[in-house]
Assembly symmetry: C2
Homo-oligomer: 375 residues x 2
């Protein structure tokens, strides 16, 4: 990093040029010339109701980077269900407290230490692992805490690529030994993962049977999902009807893979329609009910039931080529408009509390995304 | 086959030698000299209560074998739960009716057709596949319907090797990637499969935690299972106690494999003690309850749940070398007294109805075995 200029030198320089203290540009220059960056983070010091336990902490980050460090400015970070559960203390992983909220997001590199070769100023980066704490304006950290992501895709896509599209990609890639034309059945088809599944499956010429809960605007939702690439959209109730068997019959092949984000009855119903020797991957449990598998489904239908956890996959595949291939392929899909992010609602960073409250009212609506652009 | 002698020639021959019609030896010779063998089978023409729908059918088998045929005399056949369920029509497979009862047993080859090289007179054989219909005195069939089994092991071991020891062997061999010292947990530990699991695990230096239902003679049962090789014997109730965690801790490693023959709560409890990334294999559902898996066990503990069905394995591995290796290894264990058959109670063939009634009163007692020796 270039040797930092002193604040006073620059202040005098800008005053001479007619900028005053209230000028926005002046403030920015002062910030640029400072030895520190003012940074804000959303933190929690105890587990509990996210509407109560969160607060903003301010501190200064030194611009003098160590050799392997980078400084980054967060751009966007979504509110994910796992973020909420982590704050509540109900998630499988409990981060040591105090903790900065947020597992996903995109940042821009502002500066790099002298030994950093993998990243340069202006690069976009995403957290390498979960538990990063993305709800902050700036961060200085070891360069390997980040993973570079192409900056020719929409910022929103980059900010939401780590969790849902990667989960969908891996489940379709690693389970059920799927080939073009094969059928996948999934519940929670309107969730963020579900929508990624639909789009990636479509890109890979897989057919999808998508199960959603019944609702007033069902037809409209079905149409939306079909526009994303869904082959069929059915309700939970339809799964139990004889017509469902006709639908599967009309596909010429039963689903080799079932993706379960709900649990309870919904998961059991998926199993009724899965092919012999099929696989059911559980990645979520929205119903808060366990997965119930009739004994005969295991013994006579020879179904395998297992789980997928994106965070764990990332730990085990930290530097694996499969991971780079995945991001490359997902970015290509994004560039070709084959994979769009779910509908979002933006909240400026200092309105994070509103984003949280809104997110907790239901994840089926628009995804809440926090923007740090202006900070 | 030698050209058959006519009955009348032999009758006259034996009369001359002073044998009369009531003499047992005479009868046997007459039978030997006949062109036919009198055969009896236990059959059902409709599905239903095994105490009601079974009957004996008599017919004659020609001794003139086709080139690839063999004639065999059944020696012993056990009453297995799946036999009962098949008769009831509640089993996954429904044999076409009328059907001969029995999936397991041992027979002796009486004669072979001219092209049969793999079997010779005096060999012991077991059914190559399930659905054979072993509850009969004699059978003429294609030689590949049988699989040769060593005749230097106890007849009872040969008669009961196909289902339970093979199921136990495959589950311990094919799942959980077990190595000597590893721990296996199983419920239904006192069942026939359970006892085979204990003995094979012991032979392979695997440690077993064996779950049984509480009962009056618990200590005695635990002692018996420990004599078979069980490392620990605990009750279903004990699984829920804090002491169970201490027990697992004392083993220095959590079970990599859980074997479930019960389902319901019992299976869920096994999952509490299984190691991360462990496998649960379901081979039975004695409780008639489904398998209930908490979502977090799939996602965060990364447990895989699947099933094993011996009959299906046999179909898929009809001529695989693994199958021969398995029988060889099991026979060696039997010869070395490392694998003994479960305690049995014998019933002569014409008392089959008593065997069935007795078996249906509870499978936890002695296994009922039907003997065709005298027929």
């Amino acid at each position: 990093m270039a040797k930092p200029f002193t604040k006073s030198v620059f202040k005098s320089l800008f005053r001479r040029k007619g900028y005053d203290n209230n000028n926005k540009c002046y403030k920015k220059v002062v910030r640029l010339c400072s030895n520190h960056v003012d940074c804000m983070s959303v933190v929690y010091k105890e587990y509990g109701d996210p509407n109560k336990v969160l607060g903003i902490e301010k501190h200064q980050l030194s611009k003098r980077l160590k050799a392997n460090e980078v400084m980054a400015k967060m751009l966007l970070a979504p509110v994910n269900p796992s973020d909420i559960n982590m704050i509540e203390g109900t998630y499988f992983l409990k981060p040591p407290l105090p903790a900065v909220v947020g597992n996903e997001g995109v940042a821009e590199i502002l500066d790099v230490g002298e030994n950093v070769k993998s990243l340069k100023v202006g690069d976009w980066v995403i957290p390498n692992q979960a538990g990063f704490g993305t709800w902050r304006t700036h961060i200085v950290t070891e360069c390997n805490m980040f993973k570079k992501i192409s900056n020719d895709i929409p910022q929103l896509s980059a900010a939401t690529i780590t969790v849902n599209p990667c989960t969908a990609y891996r489940m379709l890639k690693d389970f059920g030994n799927l080939k073009p034309g094969d059928v996948v059945i999934q519940n929670s088809a309107n969730s963020a993962v579900g929508q990624s599944v639909i789009q990636i499956a479509k890109a890979w010429n897989l057919r999808t049977v998508n199960v959603v809960r019944n609702r007033d605007n069902l037809e409209q939702l079905a149409e939306q999902l079909k526009q994303l690439g869904a082959t069929h959209v059915v309700t939970e109730e339809f799964l139990r009807k004889p017509e469902m068997k006709d639908l599967i019959k009309s596909l010429g092949a039963a689903p080799k893979l079932a993706l379960n984000g709900v649990g309870g009855k919904s998961a059991t119903e998926l199993l009724r329609h899965i092919a012999p020797k099929g696989t059911m991957v559980t990645y979520g449990g929205m119903s808060r009910q366990p997965v119930i598998v009739p004994t005969g489904v295991f013994i006579f239908k020879e179904v395998t039931a297992l789980g997928f956890w994106n965070s764990q996959w990332n730990i085990e595949n930290d530097t694996s080529p499969e991971r780079d291939i995945m991001y490359e392929e997902l970015c290509n899909m994004i560039r070709e408009c084959k994979l769009i992010p779910p509908p979002c609602e933006m909240f400026p960073f200092d309105n994070y509390a509103e984003a949280v409250e809104s997110a907790m009212k239901g994840f089926e609506g628009k995804k809440k995304v926090i923007s740090m652009q202006e900070f």
